[in-house]
């Protein structure tokens, strides 16, 4: 028995290393730098990310109907919670996209357009929004979509028994939501049915974020006729969520094999018309074999494809490689204070070790990120210049210079700031001539992370800075965020990444009250700028763009956090798919997908 346990623990230790990457990234947007796209080590073969197309049109005559084969690349089974209010796993949402209960269509900046199932009209002066169902829309079971179905999702999230993450500050912005949640009211008083086609929601305050589905506005409908008889506590395990959800999208769920595959069929009631293909089959494919599966023509489209396998795809004649920017950035942050949990406020400490703009800027200039993107990421990552990913075209400030690699400039800045090498050992001392060591927390992810961090440490040493790793090695994902969030005194700076989602407002990450403002930097100017971005005046797009630009410049100058990478997402598509476009601004709509052969090309 002793032997068994020993074996178990050895196997287990090995497994931890092997699965760390995938499991950690799977259920989180708080990304670990270098998880999904383990960089492949190649010296040449770099791609210019602009050369990866977003769209493909293939030759050949279109067949009637057909089945689209979709690979969901993951090493764990999907969770199978098919409900927008309750799901947590990104893979479930990938699947739900095909069935979708989405009410609004979004433009390239992820702002609500008028073309969806529902139309949004905001009355900012009175903090009200009117939502109207456009035309005759039917659920996949043929029942008409009613205003009750628009209201029901709010009653799910606000329900006293709701156990998800979406009952948050944003949601409490709806008048009456808290009373409903506390059980003091039977309905949410701020949500009213106006007529057969429209509802009105009253908010405590409306900001420009409402057009990015913020402020508490919810973007989905739920079939009340199917769900209302199920008690809230049982909803998440009910068949209506797990097996046979009634939906509004182009396809409806037909059969499910728990955790591994799902078959959808065309929804004849779809409001944009019945899709041209008959079926979609989505299957979980392990990351180890997705390259081979694409090569042998098992799948038409692979979602969440691991970027480190890009090389293996390049020479396939049957697969087109499409790419688009990821909604994420990697960054380096400096610890400049503490979070006061009791008062929910960040307290900036002027005396903190890293509170010197020149020092922080110098560290940014000293990092040779350009070489890392080339040697380790094949150019699928690029050096970032801003904390807003370029995909938010209207808000991203492309004029920002960023901190391009310049060791000389770094040295000058350090000299200017008074970090001088007093004892001649090649390492600078601090302003008082004391020994100066910076402790960096960095996450363990892929096998090349260690090499990359060592390279950066060498970069910093070249300009005379002694950077040591907190705990002496790379830190596992959960411990890393535990330490960073708790303002561990052993951390002076840290390397991490954020997935931004579709709402670019930076208030949740950098404001005075934000617990995720890990650098703990606070200034009156910054607070003002953040307020400005979400102010009434910013309801005007030009004003908001201007406010975003000001904020980006301020962040770049202060460098309490500075961005390191932007990433590119790779989407392989089999050449039997007639037209396919992955550009967020102009994505191919599901009902329009057509195929040119009976099976994916080999």
């Amino acid at each position: 028995m002793k032997k068994n346990w020993l074996m178990l623990s050895v196997i287990f230790a090995v497994m931890l290393v092997l699965t760390a990457c995938n499991s950690a990234e799977k259920n989180t947007a708080q990304t670990d730098d270098g998880n999904k796209d383990k960089p492949a080590q190649t010296d040449d073969n770099n791609v210019d990310t602009n050369s990866i197309p977003m769209e493909i049109t293939n030759e050949g005559d279109v067949i009637k109907g057909g089945t689209l084969q979709v690979a969901l690349v993951t090493d764990s089974p999907f969770q199978g919670i098919f409900n927008w209010e309750l799901y947590e796993d990104a893979y479930d949402s990938e699947i739900m996209k095909y069935a979708s209960n989405v009410l609004y269509e979004l433009d390239g900046d992820f702002l609500v357009k008028d073309t969806g199932i529902a139309k949004l009209e905001v009355d900012a002066e009175n903090n009200k929004a009117k939502i109207t169902i456009q035309g005759d829309v039917k659920w996949s079971d043929g029942t008409p979509l009613t205003t009750d179905d628009l209201i029901y999702p709010y009653e799910i999230i606000g329900h006293p028994d709701y156990e998800g993450v979406r009952y948050d500050d944003d949601f409490k912005n709806i008048v009456g939501a808290e009373e409903y949640h506390d059980g003091k009211a039977d309905t949410i008083s701020g949500i009213k049915k106006l007529d057969e086609k429209s509802i009105e929601i009253t908010f405590k305050k409306v900001s420009p974020a409402i057009y990015s589905l913020g402020d508490g506005l919810w973007g989905y409908a739920e079939p009340k006729h199917q769900l209302e008889s199920i008690p809230m506590k049982e909803l998440i395990s009910s068949d209506a969520v797990r097996k046979n959800p009634v939906t509004l999208g182009a396809f409806k769920i037909d059969k499910i094999v728990n955790g591994e595959s799902i078959q959808l069929v065309a929804n004849e009631h779809y409001f944009k018309g019945k899709p041209k293909i008959d079926k979609v089959v989505i299957e979980v494919v392990p990351s180890t074999s997705i390259g081979e599966a694409l090569k042998t023509g098992k799948y038409d489209i692979a979602t969440s494809f691991p970027t480190n396998q890009y090389d293996g795809l390049k020479n396939l004649s049957n697969v087109a490689i499409l790419g688009r920017p990821e909604l994420a950035y990697s960054y380096v942050g400096f610890k400049l204070g503490k979070y006061d949990k009791a008062n929910r406020i960040n307290i900036f400490d002027e005396k903190s070790k890293m509170n010197d703009i020149n020092l922080r800027q110098a560290m940014a200039y000293a990092m040779d990120i350009e070489s890392v993107t080339e040697k380790f990421y094949q150019g699928l990552r690029v050096r970032a210049n801003s904390l807003i990913p370029p995909v938010f075209a209207s808000y991203y400030d492309e004029t920002l210079k960023g901190y391009n690699y310049d060791a000389e400039k770094a040295k000058q800045l350090l000299d200017k700031a008074g970090y001088k090498d007093a004892d001649g050992d090649g390492i600078r001392e601090d302003k008082n001539g004391e020994k100066f060591t910076i402790r960096l927390a960095s996450m363990a992810g892929s096998d090349t992370d260690e090499a990359i961090v060592e390279y950066y440490r060498q970069n910093w040493k070249d300009v005379g800075l002694d950077v040591q790793l907190t705990t002496g090695r790379l830190i596992e994902f959960n411990s890393f965020y535990d330490k960073v969030q708790a303002d561990d005194p052993e951390i002076d700076m840290y390397m991490a990444a954020w997935g931004t989602g579709t709402n670019p407002s930076p208030a949740g990450l950098y404001s005075e009250g934000a617990e995720f403002n890990f650098s703990r930097f606070v200034s009156p100017e910054l607070s003002e700028m953040l307020k400005d971005i979400d102010s009434d005046k910013a309801m005007k797009p030009e004003y908001r763009a201007e406010a975003f630009s000001k904020w980006q410049n301020y962040m770049a100058e202060q460098a309490m956090v500075f961005p390191t990478f932007f990433r590119t997402e790779i989407i392989p598509v089999n050449k039997r798919v007639k037209n396919y476009n992955v550009d967020y601004a102009n994505e191919t709509e599901l009902q329009n997908i057509e195929l040119t052969a009976d099976a994916p090309l080999k």
Partner: protein
Amino acid sequence: MWKTILRRVLMMIPQMFVLSLFIFILAKQMPGDPFTGLITPETDPSRIEELRIQAGFYDPWYVQYYHWITNALQGDFGQSYTYKIAVSTLIGERGLNTFWLSLLSAILVYLIAIPLGMLAGRYQESFLDKSIILYSFISYAIPTFVLSLIFLFIFGYRLMWFPTSGTVDVGLEPGTTAYYWNKIYHLLLPAITYAILGTTSIIQYLRSEIIDSKTQDYVKTARSKGIPMRKVYTRHIFRNSLLPIAAFLGFTITGLLGGAIFIETIFGFPGMGNLFVSSVMSRDYSVITALVMLFGFLTLLGSLLSDIIMSIVDPRIRID
């Protein structure tokens, strides 16, 4: 004997209790919790705090332990934080997958290993013996994931003899014959891979037992009575040589639920091994604790079963 078995079963209670205490405390000691992974810029930290409070993570450990153990004693291991369904349902689903896979591969292991071990022992030092030894060394040395990937590549993708992932095709109607055939079809390749990797110890034990037996007195007696060599092997030697294999049978039976993480991951097969590792990674406490308790119980049960089986097949052994 029944007394002894009863005593052993009663002994399991304090053993399981100590195990439960250890695993409960150790699980909670891990950095992070099930909600750490939910953090995005759009989630509200105070909501996460609320959920932690609701889940009782801030109660003292003995309070949490008390809640958990009292429910567990009534068969309620709680809800999975990740999958949001009852832990027993989740383990039931995955356990069943793993059970069929392990059962098929255990059968294949015996089908491959017993003839090979016997042949190797009987024709000791021959070319056949050396080939079998070479095979068993290679299969012992080759890492699971390497062989799995090679097999998947050759038989799944190149020759296309077998399906490449999952337990069953999605289009089939559950309950039909086609559905069950399809399930077995999906089991074959992972089970064969698993079996080939698991034959070494049986081949080696069997071979050396047979070599030992050949010089035993009872063999000489049998031969001198004029029984043909073939019969001596199949009747006399074989039965005696199976003893060390019978000694492991209990563990093999209870091990059917253990799962095989590499094979499950590479063949996209939702089983227990995958569930265990991913529950640890996502800090799904309720699943971790339930699985460790289950594995612990199975280990204890396995050793008891092995002893019982031994006493049945070898009358010289008595458990007292």
